[in-house]
């Protein structure tokens, strides 16, 4: 399944946030990092793709299907969107909260197959030991992992993750990104993740899209994008792209003098 975005525009009320967003074909199995400073339009782009806010212009295509005006329920089956907000006080277990995500689109009755899907995804993300825990008792990081599980369990064609690692410690950042990468290899969805950590983006993503003020500034491999002078300008810092002795890309950033 390939995702194509052409001349997309969106906003809230009379404020236009995104204008003329065009992303040429994202192949299935691609792990795309969406980077850009706060308020650059990353969340708005996700919400527009997920159908939570209407596109004002342009088209979104999955393969050759125009999905721009697809109904929200159908859309949510093809676009799995993980928003930034988590944490709630509901008396539900982790297992139940992942099950409810699955059951939004798969009929009323809980089938044996559904239980398999839920337990498999919890195992894949290393959340097995939390299965029976109440979601209200989770730490911020654990809640974020559960939110990722809620998105992945639906096996959507496109997975949109809004800062999936923002509340995670170093170990869990790497482990969640690795799990997502494994998922990408297994089911070959398109994954777009908004990331603030450029080094994490460099390590895991095949392609980076740089967003600023609701426009796409650059689109390409991590190596080319992170080397651009626009990175520094966009984030209002000075950057150098280096290679570590192990060959990994490393963005060295400091405040401009």
């Amino acid at each position: 399944m390939t995702l194509t975005i052409e001349h997309l525009a969106a906003g809230y009320g009379n404020r236009t946030v995104l204008s003329d967003i065009s992303v040429p074909e994202i192949e299935d199995g691609a792990f795309v990092g969406l980077i850009g400073p706060n308020a650059s339009g990353k969340s708005t782009l996700f919400k527009t793709l997920a159908g939570l806010i209407p596109a004002r212009a342009g088209t979104i295509r999955l393969n050759d299907d125009d999905v721009t005006h697809m109904r929200r329920r159908d859309r949510s089956q093809r676009f799995g969107y993980m928003p930034q907000a988590f944490g709630c006080n509901a008396l539900l277990t982790v297992f139940e909260s992942v099950l409810l995500a699955l059951k939004q689109t798969s009929g009323w009755r809980v089938e044996a197959e559904n239980l398999d899907q839920v337990s498999d995804i919890l195992a894949a993300l290393g959340l097995s030991h939390l299965s029976n825990r109440g979601i209200a008792d989770l730490s911020g990081g654990q809640a974020q992992m559960v939110a990722v599980a809620q998105t992945l369990v639906r096996a959507p064609d496109v997975i949109l993750l809004d800062e999936p690692t923002s509340a995670l410690d170093l170990h869990h950042q790497l482990s969640i990104m690795t799990s997502i990468k494994t998922e990408v290899r297994r089911h070959r969805p398109v994954v777009i993740a908004a990331l603030h950590d450029l080094n994490l983006a460099a390590k895991f993503c095949d392609r980076l899209i740089l967003l600023r003020d609701g426009k796409i500034l650059a689109d390409g491999t991590p190596e080319t994008i992170l080397a651009l002078s626009e990175i520094g300008e966009t984030y209002k810092v000075e950057t150098d792209l280096e290679r570590t002795t192990r060959g990994a890309l490393y963005v060295d950033a400091r405040l401009s003098a």
Binding site: R72, S76, Q150
Partner: protein, 353 residues
């Protein structure tokens, strides 16, 4: 230290959890049946349980007098207690979910106060909102004002920037407004009318009738499937609005649909029995502690617990002083509240330990 749990163990754990929930629902249903039978068997006239049960099976088996007592007096009251308890608890449960506030219920949102005002309007001025209702004047007026208040709540939730705390503040504002209007009505009323208003407000099952029961059953019969069809979106809403929306739930539409359903339930219940606070709070709360918030179990159990509590209240109201039936509104508050608080505190202790 994370203990490794296999997928099979996770499925097993979930399956046994579901089984425990069915058992829990069956237990409460059993208790409700017991309470219902005792409620029918209790009253100013003392008859053995076996006699009452025989009259229940065959109305004329012990003569007309017993038929009238059981079928025309005790049964409507007992059934109304179960029905209204269920209506109030389901309304409370759903309000709490859609407004994301554990304090939401018909009483705290001012629906009961509005109904009381509607009733007083009928009692004092003989003024009817709906023309030509005859004997149901008081009930119809109460229903109309309760529905009006629900409509206002519905409207308020659509306003921008109205959070769940604001909703409760709205409820308090509605409560005070209608209390003031009610006081005005009482000021204008004659002594006899004041007595009727006060009696109405205390909440009583003695206004039960088979017509009201059929109407209430019909509503509950529509409302339960209506909410069961929406159990998964409603459960998702408990994860927070943003998560529910991201899962494809049209939250705004779900709120409107559910509020319309709840409005009918709450307005019906309140117009039947007057002010009975606390059932809409205690039913869902106990249900939540017993089965969590998967709405497939939570909503039916809320209904059962609400029905059980009001049925027990009806039983107690007849048993304190033989021959006197106390208004249920007083009983629910005086006995129910301490019990409720002890439940909250003990469950808190369990959670902390």
């Amino acid at each position: 230290m994370s203990i490794n749990v296999s997928p099979a163990e996770m499925r097993q754990a979930y399956a046994s959890q579901v089984m425990r929930r069915y058992v829990m629902i069956a237990c409460v249903a059993g208790l409700l049946l017991l309470s219902f039978v005792l409620d029918v068997a209790t009253g100013p006239g003392h008859y053995p349980l076996s006699t009452v049960l025989e009259v229940f099976a065959d109305p004329m088996s012990h003569g007309v007098r017993l038929k009238v007592i059981v079928w025309d007096y005790r049964l409507p009251v007992a059934v109304t207690a179960v029905l209204v308890g269920a209506l109030l608890a389901v309304a409370g449960a759903q309000m709490q979910t859609i407004l994301n506030n554990p304090l939401a219920e018909p009483f705290t949102l001012g629906v009961s106060a509005a109904a009381s005002f509607g009733a007083s309007l009928a009692i004092v001025l003989g003024f009817s909102i709906v023309p030509a209702v005859g004997g149901l004047l008081v009930t119809t007026n109460a229903f109309f004002f309760a529905l009006l208040t629900c409509g206002f709540i519905l409207f308020a939730t659509r306003l921008k920037g109205v959070g769940s705390e604001t909703m409760i503040l709205f409820g308090i504002a509605i409560f005070f407004t209608f209390s003031a209007l009610l006081a005005l009505m009482q000021y204008m009323a004659s002594e006899d009318q004041i007595a009727r208003i006060v009696f109405w407000m205390m909440g009583s099952l003695s206004r039960a009738s088979w017509e009201k029961i059929s109407l209430g059953t019909l509503l509950l019969g529509v409302a339960i499937p209506f909410s069961l069809l929406r159990t998964w979106p409603m459960t998702a809403l408990r994860m927070g609005e943003a998560t529910a929306e991201s899962l494809g739930v049209d939250v705004a539409r779900l709120r409107v649909e559910m509020l319309i359903c709840i409005s009918l339930l709450a307005a019906t219940a309140v117009s039947f029995v007057g002010t009975v606070g606390f059932i809409g709070l205690v039913g869902p709360h106990i249900a939540r502690l017993l089965v969590g918030e998967d709405q497939r179990f939570f909503v039916p159990l809320s209904a059962l617990v609400g029905a059980l509590v009001l049925s027990l209240t009806s039983l107690i109201s007849k048993s304190i002083t033989p021959g006197i039936i106390y208004p249920i509104g007083i009983i629910t508050s005086l006995i129910g509240v301490p019990v409720f608080i002890s439940i909250i505190l003990s469950s808190r202790r369990e959670k902390l330990s």
